[in-house]
Point group: C2
Chain length 186, copies 2
């Protein structure tokens, strides 16, 4: 394996994962808290999500997805499929809320979940245990936890992309250099 290959993929490691998971609420807080409303409610047209919607989605994940599924794998293995995750729950749950309050709730829930995760003291054998995803089929606890990390980062990408694309017309000729606007992946 060359050094280049080493730097383009990582094996799952609990401390590495917790390092990212524990930083996501503060990252979104730094990016979003206090921004003018027009940025917070910006989206990419049609049914796409705004930064406000995404934070609500992350809260719902903390409540119903990641740790509940981890516990289900540890308790029931693949004998019971995970409960289905509601990707649209935030549209009802966030109604009438302020972004600051959602950011506070996300930080609180994540802190508790990371604490609970660390307290499980999972072994490699635990991480190899399998659950059953209702649509995707068999999946290990390690894959679930790696997905939690990547899912956080995917939504940091999404929020930053939504914000950047607000200036699609305003950047003029620089559009050619901005991958996030031109759509070219670098």
């Amino acid at each position: 394996m060359t050094a280049t290959t080493d730097r383009s993929r990582r094996h799952f490691d609990m401390a590495d994962a917790i390092a990212i998971l524990s930083r996501t609420p503060a990252t979104l807080d730094a990016l979003l808290r206090g921004l003018p409303d027009g940025w917070i409610t910006a989206h990419e047209g049609a049914d796409t999500w705004s930064p406000f919607d995404v934070v609500g989605h992350l809260i719902h994940g903390e409540r119903t997805d990641w740790m509940p599924r981890a516990r289900m794998i540890l308790q029931h293995g693949d004998s019971r499929p995970f409960d289905t995750f509601d990707r649209f729950a935030q549209f009802e749950a966030s109604k009438g809320r302020m972004l600051d309050s959602l950011l506070d709730e996300l930080a609180m829930l994540r802190q508790q979940n990371v604490r609970d995760l660390a307290a499980l003291h999972l072994t490699e054998a635990d991480l190899d245990r399998r659950g059953h995803h209702p649509a995707l089929g068999p999946a290990t606890l390690r894959q679930l936890l790696a997905t939690w990390v990547a899912h956080d980062l995917d939504h940091v990408v999404q929020i930053s992309r939504v914000l950047a694309r607000q200036y699609t017309d305003e950047v003029g000729p620089w559009r050619a250099y901005l991958r996030i606007i031109s759509g070219v992946q670098g």
Copy 2:
């Protein structure tokens, strides 16, 4: 114009732009400071950039790109092309540096640049002034400043994408749901 269209594009506004520009260093600080080295030096293979490289690139932009070009437009209009921006300067400039020190430098430079930008009290007529980009041709001050904002966000996207893709193999079947890994744009 429908409400949907309104939320998918914004006109450039100085207060809006400064709201994003002033948050970028803290966003990157929250995401990156204290992360294990393997995350900081992660990249997407070949000549792609790591989070460490990107922070150095943003520092070089603060020193040589955005405000120097803004001042050139105000002083010389399109009679002098901008100096060429060195996209690879950080590989030399960041050598031997620690990420924490780069994050501190970025925060300091950005704070000064945002202060200088606000102190210019730019009018709409100023924002309409044209400069000359050595490769892209004519570009207004408004376009330059909108690009500064979008460029920040583009690099937040890049860093988050680089980190997420480290777990490309580890997420297993969830790969199908993670746009940042599957490559599908949402």
